[in-house]
Each structure stands twice: as structure tokens, then as C-alpha cells.
Symmetry: C2
Subunit: 341 residues, 2 copies
């Protein structure tokens, strides 16, 4: 690899063209992909044909897509190319996790300015290979095109033997639970923007290289959880989404929200607002009866916190109560593209 | 619909935000999608959850993705938004056709500048609904994001009960056959660029609103065809692709290439080069023994022309012979992004 590295150093995309880049990507995948996973074994046609093809081996197929755009979701230079590749795939795998499924196949579409360095694109694939190898996902195809704006549009197919966890499954009387900590990714973004970031801090790591909660999603499904969502828009906003889909309301208690020590130390005045409103956490928010959550807590290797309860009626409304039982008003309720003010 | 049309007229995306647009798209799909197809019936979770979910009903899943970028694949203003939506889905369905499969589910990712009109985005969905209804495809999910450059990244999942048609299946002795006419789309693009286009002419139609050859792809698979590809890069270039994948060579004869009357009349000196090198035709190029092609010709409702034969060795090399048996040299061998000169 070192030899290849030297040869392609500072070579621009325009020098080798679309097909030249695809050849290099294919060679990288062939040399690095760990093809022992069920997904790779069931893949009949991968990169290089009109479409990918795999043998079905489960009752249900899951499919999701998520796109990262330069200047919107990331800034080139702020994240390494490798982390960018990891994250682009991680956010899609997180959607599969939120259904309780297993991610299996991915199609990778890149829109690339012609002065992008070939080396950087291959580094992005190194990051995608790192996470796809970890979770047994096969890179099955994609599309590469010129674009003035750099973007990475990923589709992931997954499988589930049982009916998946839906947003609309919440039932009145359910408790609301959360894996891990929220607000870290937003804190990491703030630290990077103020140039105060240490690259190995938990918050910067959460922002640049989030981990999909795949084991936890499966555990929630198998244990009898009612509904689940991954937190990409912010805890309060995503709780609103599942309540709206389920036509119920929710009450959460600020003193039950787990606050990571780094949030407290770096953003003492904003820690709670970051935990409630910061997006891109990719933790799982789920609802279930108390006894189901108790079982999940025993089996989970990740922190699971009960943060509130579901109430009948009041569709989609989330009440946030402080220690005194008073309504707490969040400043930034969540992420919404395009909308100003 | 007329009332909605008036209300949303000239409303910009930035005024209603991502979630507002998604609500309008969902309402449009709910009102227009014809949900009687097997794909819609097997869809368990559609738009609005973390991932889409459907019940598997075939042995193999096919998956493909293709992206259209403003300024690269289309120019806003040159095509109607409705045709753009049609084409973005058509080019993906064409990849499924080239495998002999049935397209079933699509995920639609839009990268949208914030000053795009909501009405135009909904028109784009009207075009997608037109073609998805025609072929029974379910719009199962997607992602909408801000982007300075407008792009449409589509993933389509399909199914096949038998092993699909591959590029690598060509065998020496196969004949080479083609559905329909090539070069029309390139001609349509040229006519539009020179402002000489009539919008209902066959070439402009081929460029702006191509039809995937789904019935033909299935017929080729069921009849015992060996290999197939859809012509997106140009007839000669795509023939090179399947020959390279199959480690064989090919000979094609210029006097056997079907030339559409409009190519002859509009581009008398370039008709052959357009037919051999013009891209984006989305016709199917396939190889099979003579008796298989004979059966396909009888059953096909589309023109099928035998244009040459496969030869052993000479991997990936395509010889083009003129009427005198001399080598014919094509000026523009095919489409390759990024590459200059």
C-alpha cells in the first residue's frame, strides 16, 4: 500500500477520470474488505455490473439512505477523509439499528469536484471499509459523478427476521429510554468550530466518528421494545417524531437526562440544552414497558437511562419538566435544513 | 390539486423547511401513488420511519443507484421538472432491466439549493410518480438535504427469481443484439443545445424522458440470453465493458447498426458516430446464441437488431467494420466524467 500511496499522491481526479478512479476503488475494496460475513457470502454480483445482486436470506428487507453534503453536514478539512467515510456509512447503519435490523449491503454515491485528490477519495473508502468490516457490511456498488459541491449519498440495505421496530409503535404507559449520552456530537462540533478541540475527546469523537448502536437495536427488538428512533435531529425533536407518529404525548425529566462529564466541564451553562437539542448523536431513543427496559438494561453493554414516560393524547407534544416540576423551555428544539429564523 | 397548486406557487424551500417539504411530498405520494402493485402491497414501512421495510418475496434482490447532477447530467430550464423526475428514476430502472429483473422500491435523495421552488420539487415527484406507477414501483423513502448544487440521487431495489443477466456472461460465438435505436438521446441533447429542438421529436424525447426496457430485459433473461448491459455510456463503450468483463472481443458491422430516420435527417454526417458513441440511450445491448435471439425477436414488441458477433480472446477490444470490411474509427468513444482531452 505504501507504494501505491506514493504513486497516487496529489493526483487529481481530472487526471485519471471516472473509470480510473473506480478501478482504484475496486482494487482497494478487493484488498481490504473482509469477505467472511454473511452479507459478502450472499452477494452474487458486486461492483462493476449494472446492479448489485444478493441472495435473500431473511423475511424482511430494510432500506435507508442518508446524504452528507460539504458545507452542510461537514466541512472538508475539519474531518479527516477517513472519518468522513466512516460517518457517511455510520449514519445509515444507525437507521437500520433503530429498526432493530442488521445492515448488510451498501451502495455509495459520490459527487466529486474535479480537483479532489484521488488519495483523499481512497482515504474515504478506507474509513468506509473500517466500519463495514466491523459490522460485516458488503460494499455492493455505487455511482461516481462530477459535482461542483462534494457530496456522499449512501444507501444501506439490511435485514430482519422479525417485524422491525417502528416509530409508530409507542403505547401510552411506556417508559422512554435512551442509550448512551446525547449532546456530545453537538459539543464536538462547537469545539471544532472554536478550534478548542482535542481530537481524541469523547465529544469530538462522537461528532466525527459516531458508532451505530446495532447490538442495542437488536436487543431492543428481541426484548419486546415498542418503538425506536435514532437521534439525528436532537433528543427532544426525535422524541416528538415518534410521539407524533404514534399519536401520543411524552413527559421527560431533566434530572434523568444523562449528562456526559465533558459536556458539564466544557459547556457548563449549556449542557442540558445540548443534551436535549443537539443533533447527530446516533444514540437510540426507545419506548417499552418498565419490565422490558429492565431486561434490556441487564443485557446491554451500553448505558441505558429511563428519562420519562409516554402519556395518552396530546399527540406529538413533548413536555420537559425541571426538578421542581416546572416546564423547561429548550432554546434550539432541533435540526431543520433550509429553515431560517 | 389546482387549489394546492395556487397556494404553493412560487414558495421557496427556505420558507417551509425540510420537514414542510417532506409533508407536501408525502401528501402528493399518498394522493397519486397507485398502490395495487406487488411492491406496494409488500411494503410494510414506507416514508417517515428510520428505514423502509418490505417483505421479501423473491430469491434475489437487485440494487442499483444513479445520480443526476445539475450542470453535469442536466441543466435546470432545459428539461421540465417532471421529466427530470421521470428520468432520474428511469435510468435506475434501466439498470434493473439490464439484469432481467423487476424494479420494486426506490429511495429518493434530493440535494436542493434553498431558493428552489417547492412547486418545482413537487413537479419532479409528479414525474417520478408517473413512471413508478407505470412500472409498479413503490417510493419507499429518501433523504432531503440542502446543497448548493442541485442533485438527485436515486437508489432502486428490484427482484429476480432466477440468477440475473450479468456483464460477464458473454460467450465466444454469441451474436450481439440491440433493442431500439441508439444515438437518439445524444442527438436530442445536441438539438436542445442549439435551440433547434422540437419537444415531441423522438430524439428529444429519448434524451429527456427515456423508457427503461423492462419487458425486454425479462424476455432476454427468460429466453436464455447470456449477457446484457444498458447503454448509458454509448454503444461501442458499453460493448467494450461487457467484453472486458467477459474477457472476449467483439466485431460489429456499421451497416447493421439501426439508424433512426431522425438521426439521418438532422445529423446526416454524424448519424453513425452518434449511434455508436452517443450515450444515455438506455437501450439494452445483449449477447446470446443465434437461436435465442431469434426467439427474442419473435416475442419482442421492440425492434431487436443483430449488429455483430463475439470473438474469443482480444479481451475487451471492439472492432468496428465498415461496409468494405475496413476498420471504422469512432471519434468519441464514450462518456467519461472528469477526464479532459
Amino acid at each position: 500500500m505504501i507504494i501505491a500511496h506514493v504513486i497516487i499522491h496529489s493526483m487529481k481526479l481530472s487526471e485519471i477520470g471516472e473509470f480510473g478512479l473506480i478501478d482504484k476503488i475496486n482494487a482497494l475494496i478487493e484488498s481490504r474488505a473482509e469477505k467472511s460475513s454473511p452479507a459478502w457470502k450472499n452477494l452474487i454480483v458486486g461492483i462493476g455490473d449494472d446492479a448489485a445482486c444478493w441472495k435473500n436470506s431473511s423475511a424482511y428487507t430494510l432500506a435507508t439512505t442518508d446524504c452528507l453534503v460539504d458545507g452542510v453536514h461537514f466541512k472538508t478539512g475539519q474531518s479527516s477523509w477517513s472519518n468522513l467515510g466512516w460517518k457517511a456509512l455510520a449514519v445509515n447503519m444507525s437507521d437500520i439499528a433503530a429498526m432493530g435490523g442488521t445492515p448488510e449491503y451498501t451502495l455509495v454515491t459520490l459527487g466529486l469536484p474535479e480537483d479532489v485528490l484521488v488519495e483523499d477519495v481512497l482515504q474515504m473508502y478506507e474509513g468506509m471499509l473500517e466500519i463495514s468490516n466491523r459490522f460485516g457490511v458488503a460494499i455492493a456498488g455505487g455511482d461516481i459523478t462530477a459535482s461542483q459541491t462534494l457530496f456522499i449519498s449512501i444507501a444501506v440495505n439490511g435485514s430482519s427476521d422479525g417485524k422491525p421496530l417502528l416509530r409508530a409503535g409507542v403505547k401510552p404507559g411506556d417508559l422512554i429510554a435512551l442509550t448512551g449520552y446525547t449532546g456530545l456530537a453537538a459539543a464536538g462540533r462547537k469545539l471544532l468550530e472554536s478550534n478548542k478541540a482535542e481530537l481524541d475527546s469523547p465529544s469530538v469523537h462522537a461528532f466525527l466518528k459516531p458508532s451505530p448502536r446495532l447490538a442495542e437495536g437488536k436487543l431492543i427488538l428481541e426484548s419486546g421494545g415498542h418503538a425506536c428512533i435514532d437521534i439525528s435531529d436532537g433528543l427532544a425533536a426525535d422524541l416528538g417524531h415518534i410521539c407524533q407518529a404514534s399519536k401520543v404525548g411524552a413527559v421527560i425529566h431533566v434530572d434523568k437526562i444523562p449528562i456526559h462529564p465533558e459536556l458539564k466541564s466544557e459547556f457548563p451553562g449549556q449542557a442540558l440544552d445540548l443534551a436535549l437539542g443537539g443533533g447527530e448523536d446516533y444514540e437510540l431513543l426507545f419506548t417499552a414497558p418498565a419490565e422490558v427496559i429492565a431486561r434490556i438494561k441487564v443485557k446491554s453493554q451500553t448505558l441505558v437511562s429511563i428519562i420519562g414516560e409516554i402519556v395518552a393524547g396530546n399527540s406529538g407534544h413533548v413536555r420537559i419538566l425541571d426538578r421542581a416540576g416546572e416546564e423547561y423551555h429548550l432554546k434550539n428544539p432541533g435540526w431543520n435544513h433550509f429553515r431560517h429564523g
